[in-house]
């Protein structure tokens, strides 16, 4: 929750910084002094944005091969679907209607 809040605040601050920079520089240009430095609010917005993105990141997923193998079963690995036998007794036993 706090990550999302930080991220929202950072985005708003960034927009504000952009707009105020534009305003400031056009003000200076109008006055004939086209020098200018970056306002500090954009830097603050950057830091807050990084913090918010890190906090809002989703939970880490397993990437090791062993952890993937833990989710499999012997029946899955031994399925051999290309050679599977599809002629079963189901035809003869008839099908009981699945409920609902």
């Amino acid at each position: 929750m706090s990550g999302r809040l930080l991220l929202t605040v950072a985005t708003i601050l960034l927009f504000h910084a952009t707009f105020s920079t534009y305003e400031h520089l056009s003000h200076l240009k109008a006055l004939g002094r086209p020098e200018g430095s970056l306002p500090p609010s954009s830097l603050v917005a950057l830091i807050l944005g990084i913090l918010g993105a890190c906090l809002k990141a989703p939970a880490l997923k397993e990437i090791t091969w062993a952890s993937e193998m833990k989710t499999r079963t012997i029946d899955d690995m031994d399925a051999r679907m290309g050679f599977a036998n599809f002629v079963t007794r189901a035809k003869v036993l008839g099908e009981d209607e699945p409920s609902s």
């Binding site: 679907m81 290309g82 050679f83 036998n85 002629v87 079963t88 409920s99 609902s100």
Partner: protein, 293 residues
């Protein structure tokens, strides 16, 4: 069993990625998808869905649904080898085996590299009990398409069903070359080696499985899944090597047996006990009763 649409779609995706053959559940999930008119939600996967449903319908005993799916598929993909293979499977289920064999032979005469048709032909031969021709055809297939792991696994299964465990072990060695990181195949090789009386090799393979599946992070690991099965294998193999020392020196694959057999056996028993404690009820009693045998 009532199922709503999101869980049905989730199940279908899970079965597809894990290659599970859960035909009854796939059939019911398919029924849910059709009832909710949700074919559009599958997007590009809907042709895969038709294929999976067709196979599940044949398995469950509803060839009418299979015909329906095949109609859709052959309308979309005319002259596709995959669809022709599905039609062959339908023929296997509804008509006699000779008709199916003739169909596959016709497909193979037209295109000798039709992998799916060759596999189905071998499957029909095996089902008819003609194991010699099945073994011959499957050996030819495995020599032609060496990297097909499924073929070598099927060959190992075929040999094991005829109690030719050394030949099964040889086929499994090809599987291990092709898929070296898969602990399930190493476990199968371990159990086949044990049955083929090559106990030191079996013990080595069981220990390899444990090495592959154990997470090194926890200090006191409680084994789960196939690791438990591998620990059972270690216990059995170590017990057998202790009881019959001649097996340790006569390994057909010249594998040396490890030195501290009694310690290994004790470790295996501890691991099995740990796994048994974390299990519930009957399973825990069964494992402790077996350890006291």
């Amino acid at each position: 069993m009532a199922m709503d649409l999101p869980s049905a779609l989730h199940r279908l995706a899970h079965y597809r990625t894990h290659n599970t053959r859960a035909s009854r559940q796939i059939f019911e999930a398919g029924a849910v998808v059709f009832r909710n008119d949700a074919l559009g939600k599958l997007g590009d996967d809907n042709w895969q869905f038709f294929e999976t449903l067709a196979l599940a319908a044949v398995d469950v005993g509803r060839p009418d649904i299979t015909e329906e799916c095949l109609r859709h598929l052959s309308a979309q993909f005319p002259d596709s080898p995959r669809v022709q293979c599905l039609e062959g499977i339908l023929k296997e289920a509804t008509e006699s085996a000779e008709v199916a064999l003739r169909y596959y032979q016709a497909l193979l005469d037209a295109d000798p590299s039709n992998v799916a048709a060759w596999k189905r032909q071998i499957s029909v031969l095996r089902r008819l009990g003609r194991t010699e021709s099945a073994v011959e055809e499957l050996s030819k297939f495995a020599d032609t398409f060496y990297t097909d792991v499924e073929a070598w696994l099927e060959l190992a299964d075929l040999y094991a069903s005829r109690n030719q465990y050394t030949s099964a072990l040889q086929s499994l060695s090809h599987v291990l070359v092709l898929a070296p990181q898969n602990p399930f195949y190493v476990l199968q090789a371990a159990e086949t080696a044990f049955t083929a009386e090559d106990v030191p090799l079996a013990l080595r393979f069981f220990l390899m499985v444990i090495d592959m599946t154990d997470d090194a992070e926890t200090d006191t690991p409680t084994p789960a899944g196939i690791t438990v099965r591998a620990w059972y294998g270690v216990e059995l193999a170590a017990a057998r090597l202790e009881a019959e020392p001649r097996l340790g020196s006569q390994s057909p694959s010249n594998t040396r047996s490890p030195e501290h057999l009694s310690k290994l056996r004790k470790l295996a028993q501890d691991m099995i006990q740990a796994a048994g404690k974390s299990a519930q009820g009957a399973e825990a009693e069964a494992s402790s009763a077996w350890l006291r045998r």
